[in-house]
């Protein structure tokens, strides 16, 4: 076998070992290109791993006369740079370079310099990709191979420049150059493929579980409006099992099983007490409990022959109290799908939010007329379903954006569920409004502009909760929603002497007077301010028909310092 081919085969063999090891390790958190919860530990782990690969690259290389090593050291440093940036690349390059120096030979110094340079260069590629396409981007296999082939070529240049005697250096580069460039580039390409593959898998799981959660949410909303209990639980369990495909689904309250659907329903009977320690733990502590069926097994306390082996218990909460749980089961020899794991965890909070909405519907009858008006403004099903529809559409192309929108929707509803009697800061009111605006901007992306101008000194201003939100919602519902063309909403908070002025403007100019629904909404905000703060404060409206409606809220600024 000619020397070139022999070297190439040896180098590729070493590479195969690295890629196999990396394939296994790439499942762990440390090798995901995302910010870690424990950055130092992750960094050290990565440094140790890639340095080990790089040093092993030196050892598994083929030693030629004069201590020259045809090797695959570059790949460890390059992969470190791609995953962790220039500092990690530098650290791994220095480590592997220092190690190379200890092995001796007249090309040792050139090799050490080159490996360090390669770590840094791939780290810069990491930075460039992050700037261009957002954090966590990995190079595709072509880019990885290209960068590595290039830096390995430079490596050969360094050997010629640094190693003496020159004639030997040139000769050695001719022998080892082609195989090292080819093998390291191939290795970098394989690393990139493995990493991208992992990344894609995680994104798919995330997108699929959000899509399922949304489907469940859509189907359960009307059901849960009838309340949570033995009457609605069987249907709820059936819906969740259909959507998740889990082996079995149980719904419990704090002490009894309300419904059980799926495998083992012959002995897991509705009405029975909760006996599983997992369920107890979840209900007592209000946290998600997971027995994966591999390390931790669910053991059926009722029937030893029960096929169920893995369980995920998510607590359902209402007003901060655990009121029950949703449980997903899988039988022995069936993997608990990671999609279902994140679905189960997210589902409980979604259902909890729906229960709260249902509770409010119920409570409506008990509230005073004025509070009633506010609550009606709050739970606007038209807004909710249109938002869910928008999210469903966005999910098709842009899962991260859809996730953002779900978080905004969650933030909006969470804020909506506060008691109207509370006092809030302007900062809280603006957070509420922003969550709402983000959704509206997504819904009307093509024709809505929102401008805000807030004097930061006013952020701690105290005002009745639900002052700003209904006014902004009014501007949309009664103003911008009627426009055929593009519209603009402006929200301003500014000081004027001892006054704090909040202004909400829309470019529709559709305000028709105090008598209609819009007028009633304004009146109720005005009354609350006058009652809580004083008769000299409140809400005023001015309108230029067809071009501008401005609602101004006058509040005392002294409150900000209180």
């Amino acid at each position: 076998m000619p020397i070139h081919l022999r070297l190439l085969v040896a180098n590729l063999e070493a590479m195969a070992v690295f890629v196999a090891v990396f394939y296994v390790l790439s499942r762990t958190q440390a090798f995901q290109p995302v910010p870690s919860e424990r950055p130092l530990r992750t960094w050290l782990l990565r440094w140790a791993f890639f340095s080990a690969i790089s040093m092993l690259g030196s050892h598994l290389g083929v030693t030629l006369p004069g201590g020259v090593i045809a090797n695959t050291r570059a790949v460890g440093a390059v992969a470190a740079g791609f995953v962790g940036g220039p500092w990690l690349g530098l650290a791994v390059g220095l480590t592997a370079g220092a190690h190379r120096l200890t092995l001796g030979g007249y090309t040792a110094l050139a090799g050490a310099i080159a490996t360090t340079m390669e770590g840094v260069v791939s780290g810069l590629v990491h930075v460039w990709l992050a700037r261009r396409s957002g954090p966590g981007r990995l190079p595709d296999w072509r880019l990885a191979a290209g960068v590595t082939a290039l830096t390995e070529t430079v490596h050969m240049g360094i050997v010629v420049a640094v190693s003496r005697p020159l004639a030997d250096a040139i000769q050695v580069v001719q022998v080892i150059g082609p195989s090292m460039i080819l093998a390291n580039a191939t290795g970098a390409a394989l690393f990139a493929l493995v990493m991208r593959d992992r990344q894609r898998l995680r994104e798919q799981v995330a997108a699929e579980s959000s899509a399922r959660a949304l489907r469940v949410a859509g189907r359960t909303l009307r059901l849960l409006a009838r309340g949570f209990g033995p009457a609605t639980a069987p249907e709820l369990a059936r819906i969740i099992r259909e959507e998740s495909g889990a082996g079995a689904v149980a719904i419990t309250d704090v002490s009894t099983v309300l419904a059980f659907d799926g495998l083992g329903q012959d002995h897991h009977l509705a009405g029975g007490p909760i006996v599983s320690p997992y369920s107890r733990r979840a209900l007592e502590r209000g946290e998600v409990v997971f027995a994966d069926g591999e390390h931790e097994h669910f053991t059926c306390p009722i029937d030893a022959a029960c096929p169920l082996d893995a369980v995920l218990v998510s607590p359902l909460e209402l007003d901060g109290k655990v009121i029950g749980s949703v449980q997903l089961y899988e039988p022995r020899h069936r993997r608990f799908r990671s999609v279902n794991r994140s679905l189960g965890e997210g589902l409980a909070s979604l259902l909890s939010a729906q229960l709260l909405a249902a509770r409010y519907e119920e409570a409506k009858g008990l509230l005073t007329v004025q509070e009633l008006k506010l609550v009606q403004a709050q739970v606007n099903p038209h807004f909710l379903f249109n938002s869910l529809n928008t999210i469903a559409a966005v999910l098709r192309n842009d899962a991260p954006r859809a996730r953002e929108l779900i978080l905004h929707l969650a933030a909006f509803f969470r804020k909506n569920l506060k008691r109207p009697a509370e006092v809030a800061t302007l900062r809280e009111e603006l957070e509420h409004v922003n969550a709402y605006l983000e959704i509206e901007k997504a819904r009307f992306a093509d024709r809505l502009t929102v401008e805000t101008e807030i004097d930061e000194a006013l952020l701690s201003l105290r005002l009745p909760a639900f002052t700003l939100q209904p006014l902004v919602e009014n501007a949309f519902k009664h103003g911008l929603a009627g426009l055929l063309g593009p519209g603009t909403a402006r929200i301003r908070a500014r000081r004027e002497g001892a006054l704090a002025l909040l202004e909400i403007e829309d470019s529709a100019g559709a305000y028709t007077g105090a008598g209609d629904a819009e007028g009633l909404g304004l009146k109720s905000v005005d009354t609350r301010i006058k009652n809580l703060i004083g008769p000299e404060y409140g809400v005023a409206v001015s309108c230029i028909p067809g071009s501008l409606t401005r609602v101004t809220v006058r509040l005392p600024f002294a409150e900000a310092r209180a």
Binding site: P381, H382, F385, N389, A393, R443, G482, L483, L484, G485
Partner: protein, 236 residues
């Protein structure tokens, strides 16, 4: 393939429904409109087999759009709504197909099956409310003209024009719709008049008679429509 026109004011809602329809493999979305005003000429141009119509839209809602359309131009309609208890009641009472947003693919499949079997009919006229305003195209704007501003309506080869004291406005509505739904009186093959706004009836000779409106606009009256006009004006 069933050719569909979508009307919804939210871009993502249009995209989502179009994607779901595409997935059925039986429906081709030939055009999408962001509001009811744009839908009127689009319907005339593309002649779809079915109209997917959002209910809550700016200026003119889905029901109002029905009132503005010529019965001859109206295909079967599938209403799409996020949440509107009143609308759903109306759909059920009139056996009109409707979808709730977000749309479930299984539910949409039933709608498509119904369309394929040719069971879908255009919605009954009873669903359409009375016309309140007439959408008119300006150079760069849409103007909604109140009915009592209108003095007369004329049609020419260029189209239909609504005549008001302040000028003439082009509209995509047909004379027939304005006659039947807006209550204007036909006085000529190409002219309607708002009887409330007529101040003078001038009897002519061979060329026929004319009426003059409050702002001085003159409208020809053909012989065959004269008796009805006289009756409406209380001139015997």
């Amino acid at each position: 393939m069933i050719r569909a026109l979508l009307v919804d004011d939210e871009v993502h809602a249009r995209e989502e429904l179009a994607a779901l329809l595409r997935e059925t493999g039986a429906v081709e979305v030939v055009e999408s409109c962001a509001d009811a005003v744009a839908a009127i000429p689009a319907l005339r141009r593309v002649r779809p087999d079915v109209l997917f119509l959002d209910v809550q839209m700016p200026a003119i809602n889905g029901f109002e759009l029905l009132a503005l359309l010529d019965p001859d131009e109206l295909p079967p309609v599938v209403f799409v709504t996020a949440h509107d208890a009143f609308a759903v009641k109306a759909f059920e009472a009139n056996a009109v197909d409707y979808l709730l947003k977000p749309v479930e693919p299984e539910r949409l499949a039933r709608t498509v099956a119904r369309l394929r079997q040719g069971q879908a009919r255009p919605p009954p006229a009873s669903l359409a409310p009375a016309i309140r305003r007439i959408p008119c195209q300006g150079a760069r704007s849409i103007r909604l003209v109140d009915l009592d501003e209108v003095e007369a309506v004329r049609s020419s080869e260029a189209g239909v024009y609504v005549v008001t004291a302040s000028g003439e406005h082009f509209t995509d509505l047909t004379l027939r719709v304005l006659e039947e739904r807006a209550g204007f009186l036909r006085v000529h093959k190409q002219h309607l008049v708002n009887v409330e706004r007529v101040v003078e009836l001038v009897f002519g000779d061979e060329e026929g008679s004319t009426v003059r409106t409050r702002s001085g606009h003159s409208v020809p009256v053909s012989r065959r429509f004269l008796p009805l006009l006289r009756q409406r004006l209380g001139i015997s």
